[in-house]
Amino acid sequence: MIKIEGLNVHLGEFRLKNIDLSLDEGDFFVLMGPTGAGKTVLLEAIAGLVPVLGGSISIGGRDVTRLPPEQRGVGIMYQDYALFPHLTVSQNIKFGLRYHKHDRESAGKRFQKFVDDLGIGLLLQRRPETLSGGELQRVALARALMVEPRVILLDEPLSALDQGFREEIRLLLKQIHRSSHITFFMVTHDFSEALTLADKASIMNNGAIVQTGSVKDIFQKPSSSFVADFVGMKNIFPADFDGDTATVGSLTIQLPRPRNKESGHIAVRPEDIVVSLKPLRSSIRNSFAGTIRGIIDQGFLYEIHINVENRVFKSLVTKGSAVDLGLDIGTDVQISFKSTAVHIF
């Protein structure tokens, strides 16, 4: 559906470098990366809003690289929603209709459907300045969908919302995606959003795509220490490999399978590290003694920092277990993790 090949964009100081990306029709695709990675610029390049220096973009088999934005069939929804402040909600939603062939009756029905589905019936005569964040969001969504784009680009649609609204809109996006053939291309820097919404994702850094794959794969098999760090792998260590073991300083760690390369990084998710007071009687192969150096409150959980042979491992423990185990700074503990929990790159 969308095929991007060797895309290069120079925008002032900013560059997109050799972007390759391919999406199928009806995908829910998520683009992730830290602030300043170039996510919005890539969106704008697909929409035709920034000049492209090299490479090509095709949508539905048609090369659109040199087409003006209005001829691409791509809708864009910005983080700040960009509703037209001088028009009412109803005028905003219908803004694009006149540029698309439509018969009045079906457009009217579609309008009514979006208004009902999004629950914005009472807002139609109001101006954007009087709406709340969640309301602005719905109106912007209705406006983008009204012209029946083939692709809809969403720039961090949830980040400006309160937690409660965020859940609601997330569900709504999922519903709309399921009930339409529209390809969704969403930018976010929140990995949990990607996990709940998308089938496929890319991670971007410094204007380049560093990994593309299913969200699950990215989460479980990050291809670099940057991706691992980005998706929340906190225990990342440089390691030397020898067969199915890795050496991290003076620690020898069992790997899920033998490695060919000599050195690289290993990573373990904090939630995969078990903390106990005594060594566990189980098949877990990696078990080390250490001392607690720090405890960070994370709401429902504590992040425990454990010093093992001058390396700090981070583990997540529920507050209940922390109290049961009597964990405190200075407590000697045992950390254990399965060899399958060790990620190598």
């Binding site: 809708g75 960009a82 037209f84």
Partner: protein, 261 residues
């Protein structure tokens, strides 16, 4: 009661001095002529026609600025390109050039020994001593004010609104007409007023290019030179009154509406 700092009293006294400096001469001039004299002046055909000429030429200059300056202001507000600062400096040049020099510069290209002057002359367009010449001068001095006001007005509108409009299917022209213009019209009106105000107050450049037909400032100067202060004052009062009314109306139009929920 809180004791005021010395700084407060210093700023207060400076403020009062500045206001007095501006208002005193104006008030003196406005109140000097008697009502009878003002009425008498109104019967003078030269006065009426000079004020009318001042206003129509200033409005024409602002109109020309609107037509050719708006697209330029849009491009300057929305695009980045090499040499943009140079173009902005060129646009600001008329603000810093001494006024008689502007007049001389315009005459030097409009004269018969310049190719442009020759073309104009062939087309039957006369700059020297004509309303066309006055409008040319006023556009020259007023345009920078128009372009700068409109440019900053357009810069204040998020380009994302235009982006969304394009992605909804609106071509560039339609996006300008339906999004940019309705959101920028107050700045456009403010630019129009600034340009008019600058044009109406111009004397030095006009007097070089067109002593006749007389615009109001030239007439006021002539009365002052020929007959003295007393005879120039009533004309000045009428010019000020007419301008104030005009600008007041435009300003009220440009004021933001009270928000209704």
């Amino acid at each position: 009661m809180v004791r005021r700092e010395p700084f407060y009293w210093v700023s207060m006294s400076c403020g009062i001095m500045v206001l007095a400096f501006i208002l005193l001469p104006l008030a003196e001039m406005l109140t000097a002529p008697s009502a009878a004299m003002l009425q008498e002046t109104l019967k003078d055909k030269n006065v009426i026609s000079s004020i009318r000429l001042s206003i129509t030429t200033a409005l024409s200059a602002a109109g020309i600025s609107f037509v050719v300056g708006t697209p330029l202001a849009y491009v300057l507000a929305r695009t980045q390109f090499r040499g943009k600062h140079l173009i902005e400096s060129i646009i600001d040049l008329p603000i810093v050039i001494p006024h008689p020099v502007v007049g001389i510069a315009i005459l030097s290209v409009a004269g018969k020994n310049h190719w442009l002057g020759e073309i104009l002359s062939d087309l039957g367009i006369r700059i020297m001593g004509s309303p066309t010449g006055i409008i040319t001068v006023l556009t020259f001095v007023g345009m920078p004010f128009y372009i700068n006001a409109v440019k900053s007005g357009i810069e204040a509108i998020s380009p994302r609104l235009e982006n969304v409009s394009r992605s909804l299917g609106a071509p560039l022209w339609s996006t300008f007409a339906r999004i940019t213009f309705p959101l920028a019209w107050r700045s456009i009106l403010v630019g129009f007023i600034m340009c008019c105000a600058r044009a109406i107050s111009e004397f030095g450049a006009v007097v070089v290019v067109a002593y006749h037909p007389m615009i109001a400032p030239v007439l006021i100067y002539e009365r002052y030179e020929g007959y003295g202060l007393k005879y120039s004052q009533p004309v000045a009062v009428w010019l000020i009154l007419v301008c104030l009314t005009l600008f007041l109306v435009l300003r009220i139009l440009a004021l933001p509406r009270k928000k209704t929920a």
